[in-house]
Structures are given as C-alpha cells and as structure tokens.
Amino acid sequence: MNFDYSEEQTLIKDSVAKYLQNNYDFDTRKKIAASELGYSNEHWQQFAELGWLAIPFAEHLGGFGGNAIDDAIVMEELGKGLALEPYLACVIMFGGLLANGPDASRHEQDIAAIIDGSLQGAVAFTETQSRYELADVKTTASLSNGQYILNGEKVVVANGQAADKLIISARTAGEQSDTTGITLFYVDANAAGVSKTDYPMMDGHRVANITLTDVAVDSENIVGEVHHGYDNLARAIDRAIIATAAEALGIMEKLLHTTVAYTQTRKQFGVAIGSFQALQHRMVDMFINVEQTRSLLLRSACSNVAAHQASDPNTCEELLKQSKQDTLALKVMVAQVGKLVGDEALQMHGGIGMTDELDVGHYVKRLLRINTMFGDEDYSMQAFAKGSLG
C-alpha cells in the first residue's frame, strides 16, 4: 500500500510541470486563447516530441501503456499551467475510443498520427436537447446502399474547430433515449455535408457546433460495433471525467496556494488579511476540501485501473460498477469543491480578482466549465444515488 508515484511517473509529472513553467506563462496563454485555433500548434508539437501524446496508448500501438493514473498525472499539471491544448479531447477521448475498442488495430495509423502530433480528433456526442444524457441521440444514421447517411447536429464539441477526424454518435436503431441502437461513426471533418460553427468558451477553449447533412459514411468506418456504441462511449467518458477531475485538482491547488499567498501580502487596516481568523478558517475549509478531492481522485483512478486489469469477467463487471460509482462521486465532489474554491479565491482576492489581467478569474472559469462537461453536480449526484440506492 502506497500512493507514491513510480520513478517514471515522477519524470512525466516533472516534465509537464517544468515545460509549462518555462514556456507557458499567463501572457503566452492569453495570446494563444485569442488565436483562431484556440490552442498552439507549436506547443502541441512540443508535447508530441516530449512523448506526452503517447502516454495513454498501449505499447504495441506505439504508446507508453499508461492508465487512468498516468492521465491524471499529466492532467493535473496541465491544470496548474492552465494549458489550452486539446490533450483531453484529442488524446484521452478521441484517441482512447480508437485505441481501447476491439478494432484498435484498424486505427494503428491514425493513432500513430495522434502520437506524433499530426492528427487532431474530436468526439461529438452532445446535442442541443441531450443535456448530459449520452443516450439521448437524435442524430440519425440510416443504411442506404451499403453506406450510412448521417443527419443531425452535435453541439459544444470540444476541439471540434480543429479536428481532422470526428467520432460521432448517431442512432442506427431504437428510440431517442435508448442505450442500444447507438453507433459511433468515424468521419472525416472535411467530408461533404459536414459543416462547423466554432466559438470560444469562457475558459478560453474553443468548441464547435457540427451540422451533418446527408453525410455518407462507409460501413467499415465504425468505431466498435453497430448499435453498441453506448458502452464504449460511456467508458471513454468515465476516463475523461477522471482526467478532468485531475485537471480541476491542479487548478484548485493553484488557487488555494495563490489565495493563501495573497492574503499574506495583502494588507487592510494595517495587517495582512491572512491574519484574520474568519478568513483563515475559510482557507482551511478550502484545504480540507481540496485534500478530500485528491483522495477521491486517487480512489477513482485506482479503481478504474483495477477494473480494466481484471481478467475474470465477473470480477471485471463488479469492479467496473464500483469504478463507475467512484467516478460519479468524484464528479460531484469536483463540482462542489470547484465552486467553493473558485468562489473563495475570487472573494479573498477582492477587486483585483475581478479583472481579466489576473490569472485567478481564468482558473475559476475553467473550473466552472469543467462542472458542465460530462454531467453537472446534480446530474452526477442523481446517477450516483441510482447506483447506490437503486
């Protein structure tokens, strides 16, 4: 029993932390956020060269063989550095869906392109009406002459603006919210009938709404099995939740330390405001909650790894169920603690915290946005309750 990182993991952590410290200061980030792409391709190529884009992929696919714990290590540091690059959207989600299915070998080439930084991908699964229900899919795919014809709209697609390739969930059977009958299609972003509208979110990340009008997809361009895309997608989202939780944890720690430091220098009525006991106790509450979040992140990451390592199918199913609950619990806590830490950091920074020129507000906005990705506090809490109380 130990929670220490291995030597390799420590190397990754230090590598990401040091790179961002040296190359990704707040002014640099502002410029990147204002760019058309919403992230920096130069940095992305550096990420590739430093080997980070290979981390979650299996060794036989040219990867490092990393798991949810390794994701978390990278993401926590990306969170602290407030990096805009689409590690989550392109590597963990898009790459993960390609690499973790039974047909991974078919995607070897594209995975290699992800790893070397030459391919951008995105997963398009959210629709205007779906809110956080993965199974609520109105986009249709109907078979016609051996091709699937896709029609519908996906919204707020992370990295949609930059993606060369898209994985799109569409309904091939069943009713609007059935979990079966959903298929994941592998679509070229430049295919005829695909159109994008992209826009920035408050956290500086760009996203796109993607309209599909009679988009023809060859029947072999399916990720996983026909009608059975839901489970794949749900598992990819679980791993993405853990990854964003790690990013959020990095942000919370940054905000906590920034706030503690600020209250020690900021004076009011002749003394540092950090000497006021009411503020001290509130910062202690922040600390306790951030530590609790780290504990739950460790729990979720470890149970995700355990579930995917289990060989016996019964054990595996049991562990997956447990891991699902851990992940939902984590999602709830990240939302709650993110809100608390963000609010308190802004409040204790006072006026200066309300300005665009201080980084605090930008960290807070990323935390708020994370809360609405893959299910908010209320959605996740209700799903958790279903898991534990039926």
């Binding site: 919204v155 408050m202 996203v207 009525f269 309300m354 300005t355």
Partner: protein
C-alpha cells in the same frame, strides 16, 4: 401591524406601472442590453425619467427631487425591478448629488445639480486605490494646495465607466496628521484636465466597465472642494450608508428567477423539462424561499423608515443576503445553461440564454466585494448589533 399600502399609494403603483409599460420601449431595452450602445441608451432613458420628473426620488423636492414618501419610493423601486428596467447610473444621482446638496456651496449646487438631474454630466467615483480595498481610510492619492489649485497625484481604481465620465468625485489626502480618516478631503475634478489618464480594466466578464484613473500633477481649482478641507471622510461616510441600503435587489433577484423558470421549462433533462428535475426544484425553491424572507426584511426596513427611523446597521444584513442571493441566481442560470454554459457568443449556437448567464455570473462576482465587502458588513453587525468586541 398593517402590511397594506394606502389607497393613494396603490394608485401611485398603477401610475408607475403604466409609465414603465409605455416609456420603457423595446428599442431602449435592446440598446441597453448591448455594450456598444449602452452608454448612449442609458442617457436617453435617464432623460425620459427627467422629463417625467422621476429622475431623483431620493432628493429633497427643493433640489429637484420627487418629494415621495418612503412608501412611494419603495413602490417605485419594486415596480422598476419588476418591469426589468435598469436602475439609473448611481454616480451622479445617488452618490455625488446628495453630497453636493448636503455639503456643497451654493455655487456648487447651481453648477452641478441641474446637470446631474438632466444627465448632462456623467460622473464617476474615485474612492478605491490600488492597495486599498474596503479599507478606504488608508488611501494615498495626494492633493497639495498651490495657490487657487490643488495639485493631485496618485491613482484611483475600479472606477466604473470612467471612459464616459465628464467629472469624477475623489477622496484625496490633504494631510497626513492624526488618524488615517483625518486628513482626507472630498474633491470634484473635471475629467478633461491635463494630467488625467484612464487605463481600462477588462473584467472577468470580458467587458470594459472598470478603469484605473491616474492623476499626474493635475491642477484642480479649489472651488471643487466639498465642505471643509480634511473633513472628506465625514461626507463620504454619509454616502456609504446610503449605498448599502439600496443594495438588496429583491426585484432583480425575482426577475432572474423568472428568467430561469422560463428557460428551465424549455430545457430538457432526462426526457422531461428541467423544471421536473428534483435537484433543480430544490435549488430554485431554496432561492425563492430566501428571497421571500429578504423581501420582508426589506419591508421591515421600509416600515422603520416610514416611521422616521433611519436605516441602521441592519442594512448590512440586506447587503449580505441580497448579494448572496443575486450570486445564487446567477449560479443557477449557469447550471440551467448546461453544456452551453460559458459560451462567449449568443449567435447561432442554439442557446441565447448562455451568454447572458455567463456575463451576469462573472460580473456578479463583484457584488460581495464592492460597497464594503461582505466580510466588512459582518464585522459591522458583530460590533454594532451583537456587541461583540
């Protein structure tokens, strides 16, 4: 105990409601909603109010006020919020105006009050400084007497709308003897004077509302001094109490809840409107309940005021709970916006509620900091009401 308003008050309510329905046009509403047209539109609207004679409910009638009773003022304010009409810019009408008619010379009154009433002068406020937030007394912008002028050096910060302002009222240090509160003077400064520069501050809502105003050897005529030199703190304090009382914002909170209700009814979640979701219902109801209480807390203050008792430290309660509730409404808006929350565009993304939710949430974070932070308000209650040393 009598919670009804008089017949004449009820008639007044009808009159006010009608006026807003007719005069607050869709065109005004739309122009006020966009940052590009806001500054012109608010002046247009204020001139409508001026024509109606309702621009300054709180001013004494002799200076151009309405002469309304506390009950009428409360009714006016309630109806204004309920109609979704924004409040007037406070800097001239609610801040420096009262200071001028209470403490100014006859010349100052003649020069400034009419221009405030008809919105010819846009005023801004120069209190806060870099390095001094709620602790106003520690300010360091200096004004040194040189013949018929003060020479002003220093910087003010968090100055709303300085980019549009013709005049700024400032607290400046004219002496460093005695306690920090002493030696402060209240000075009116023409924004066109040489040596004044404005540095925009972009807020976390991505808008330009706030500014830093820097004074570099600005020569201000001494007739801009309010009252006596070194007594500015007294004048400023009387104004702060006023500001605190006006801040509960019950009407705006109720308006926000209506917008949320409407949007949640159209938002699907798990196959049904979000208004059926038990978690949403609990969040929404909790805010409603708290604002129902706050509304009566405010009414109790109004009733005290009607009976001639001024607002005491309990106005801190209205500030604290009012701003907390405003922020909870803004938070719930963001929740309702779902995946779209935080979108920095309202065009063609299928959700025009999200942009409003983002801007209001972000701008609203300041409410618990300005006007004396909520922590300061708690200190006031602890000391003045609970008697804790």
């Amino acid at each position: 105990m009598d919670i009804t308003f008089s017949d004449s008050d009820q008639a007044f309510r009808t009159e006010v409601r009608q006026f807003f329905a007719e005069s607050y046009t869709d065109d005004l509403k739309q122009r006020l909603g966009s940052s590009a047209t806001f500054s012109e539109a608010i002046i247009d609207w204020q001139k409508v109010l001026y024509q109606q004679g309702w621009i300054a409910p709180d001013w004494p009638a002799e200076y151009g006020g309405t002469g309304w009773s506390s009950a009428k003022k409360f009714i006016y304010e309630t109806e204004r919020a309920q109609a979704g009409v924004p409040d007037v810019l406070p800097f001239g009408l609610k801040m420096v105006g009262p200071v001028i008619y209470n403490f100014g010379t006859d010349e100052q009154k003649t020069k400034f009050l009419p221009a405030i009433l008809n919105s010819d002068h846009w005023w801004c406020q120069g209190y806060s400084e870099p390095g001094a937030g709620s602790d106003l007394a520690s300010l360091s912008t200096r004004a040194e007497r040189d013949g018929d002028h003060y020479v002003v050096n220093g910087a003010k910060v968090w100055t709303s709308y300085a980019q549009y302002a013709d005049w700024i009222f400032c607290l400046v240090r004219t002496s460093s003897d005695g306690k920090p509160q002493q030696g402060i003077s209240f000075l009116l400064i023409d924004m066109t004077l040489p040596g004044i520069s404005i540095n925009p501050i972009i807020g976390i809502d991505n808008r330009h509302t706030l500014n830093e105003v820097v004074f570099d050897n600005v020569r201000v005529p001494v007739d801009g001094l309010i009252g006596e030199e070194n007594k500015g703190w007294t004048y400023a304090k009387s104004l702060l109490a006023h500001e605190r009382n006006a801040i509960a914002g019950v009407g705006d909170i109720k308006n926000g809840l209506s917008a949320i209700h409407e949007h949640a009814e159209k938002t699907m979640s798990a196959g049904q409107p979000l208004t059926r979701d038990p978690a949403f219902r609990a969040r929404f109801s909790q805010i409603q309940i708290d604002v129902m209480a706050l509304e009566y807390s405010e009414l109790r203050t109004v009733a005290k005021s009607i009976s001639g008792q001024g607002p005491g430290p309990e106005s801190s309660l209205l500030k604290i709970r009012g701003t907390e509730l405003q922020q909870r409404v803004q938070e719930l808006m963001l929740y309702v916006a779902g995946n779209f929350a935080g979108a920095q565009t309202s065009d063609s993304i299928g959700n025009d509620f999200a942009d409003r939710a983002r801007v209001e949430y972000m701008y609203g974070r300041a409410a618990t900091v300005y006007g004396g932070s909520n922590e300061i308000q708690k200190n006031i209650i602890a000391k003045a009401i609970l008697g804790l040393g």
